[in-house]
Amino acid sequence: MSEYKSYQLVLFSVICFGLFGCTTVTIDQGQHQEVTMHQGDSIVVMGRRAGSDYETEPELISCIGEVLAKTNESLNVIPENDFVDRLYPWFEARTAPTHVRDLNRLLSYDKISALIEDYKVQYIVWVDGNTEKTRSAGSISCGLSATGAACFGFGTWDTKSEYEATIWDYNSRQLVGKVSSTADGTSYMPAIVIPIPIIAPVQADACKAMAAQLGHFFGSERKSAEVPNTN
């Protein structure tokens, strides 16, 4: 009996946590300038928050930073909150530089340039975009009776993530390149007594794809920048 119960529990867990919807991710990359990373150089990944009808999610920015740092151990990624707080109020939604040439104006303040140099920032990555539900269909109805509660029905919805990362070179004050990540996925929720969510992790997949491409962008360039050992 106890074996049967644990079998039921495992099956339930697999149903609840093991089913994911499918996501299609498209990555695009454009490089305008050659980049070089040296030992100890850092990058900072920040979100654009100036859009009036959407907001680049803070959790996506921290996800990209974490995945980048995890997959490229030698890459020093500065957390967005630390950087923005330390340089308050120059990187707030309405005060952050929108063009790479605006960095010159910002860095004319000695205190700002000293702080950024303290961080050894080599590249600034701006991520703009969001994840939104694009379509939903179906219905689920739930009922409560003396014997218990039950749901019946079927629901489905599409989610789309569109993000673009713009990479600035802090030292040359030039636009280095752009990486875009588009992810589409459909989630399902059949309900037969209990609702079983089959969620497409669209935002998480867009984050992983963007971080992998950025890692490749910086990683491949770092290899070319390494000084060959002549000894």
Binding site: D53, E55, D85, Y88, P89, E92, A93, K111
Partner: protein
């Protein structure tokens, strides 16, 4: 009164009390809390007297709209905290009081009195982008050392935050409030010197300081 009628009245009282507790728990209350970083700006060598009147310190917004859910939002403590951090970074000396007259016997270069004139917010079902949004409109009065009104300045601030899974409405609105207050701090720190009357005053003060320094240097040489 019989034993049963007494018991009935007690039961009605208890039921009413429970009903009130349930009703009260439907209202969302928020005491805005946040940490505001010190702005990276050049400090001005002036003293400022800041007036936080009791209404400003205890500012509380109570939603009265019939079509909206009940909210009670206390902003006072957080806005005082923000002004405190920002003004201390902007001026070499900051003195706070709850009234303008008789603040101190010391000569003070400027006096400053903020007031929150308008507070608005939106919850996700009221916005296209499913976000919490906050607008703040402040009236900032700046007085000279003789407490004569020098500038009457209106500054607006805006903050928004997307809804997130496993985040309560209170936490999300608090985040939008903190972003709006940070925007306000940025506006004060970066635009204070651009208000025409203040800009004129700052220029005259800097010229006077430079002249006095040059005069001092000549005296030292002689």
């Amino acid at each position: 009164m019989t034993y049963f009628s007494k018991k009935l009245i007690n039961n009605i009282r208890l039921f009413t009390l429970l009903f009130c507790v349930i009703l009260t728990s439907c209202k969302s209350t928020l005491d805005v809390e946040g940490n505001f970083p010190t702005p990276v700006i050049n400090q001005m060598p002036f003293s400022i007297g800041v007036v936080f009147d009791p209404q400003f310190i205890s500012y509380r917004y109570i939603e009265t709209g019939k079509d909206r859910s009940e909210w009670e939002i206390s902003v006072g403590k957080a806005q005082v905290q923000l002004f405190d951090v920002v003004l201390k970074a902007m001026f070499s000396e900051v003195i706070t009081s709850n009234k303008l007259r008789g603040m101190t016997n010391k000569p003070i270069d400027l006096f400053f009195q903020p007031s929150l004139e308008n507070f608005q917010y939106n919850v996700p079902n009221e916005t296209k982008g499913k976000m919490f949004e906050v607008w703040l409109k402040y009236n900032l009065k700046v007085f000279d050392g003789q407490q004569q009104l020098m500038a009457d300045w209106v500054l607006t601030a805006y903050g928004k935050t997307p809804t997130a899974f496993l985040k309560s409405d209170e936490a999300a609105l608090n985040e939008a409030m903190v972003i709006a207050l940070r925007d306000l701090g940025a506006g004060i720190a970066l635009r204070f010197g651009h208000v025409p009357e203040i800009n004129l005053w700052l220029k005259s003060k800097h010229q006077a300081l430079q002249a006095s320094t040059a005069h001092q240097e000549i005296d030292d040489v002689n």
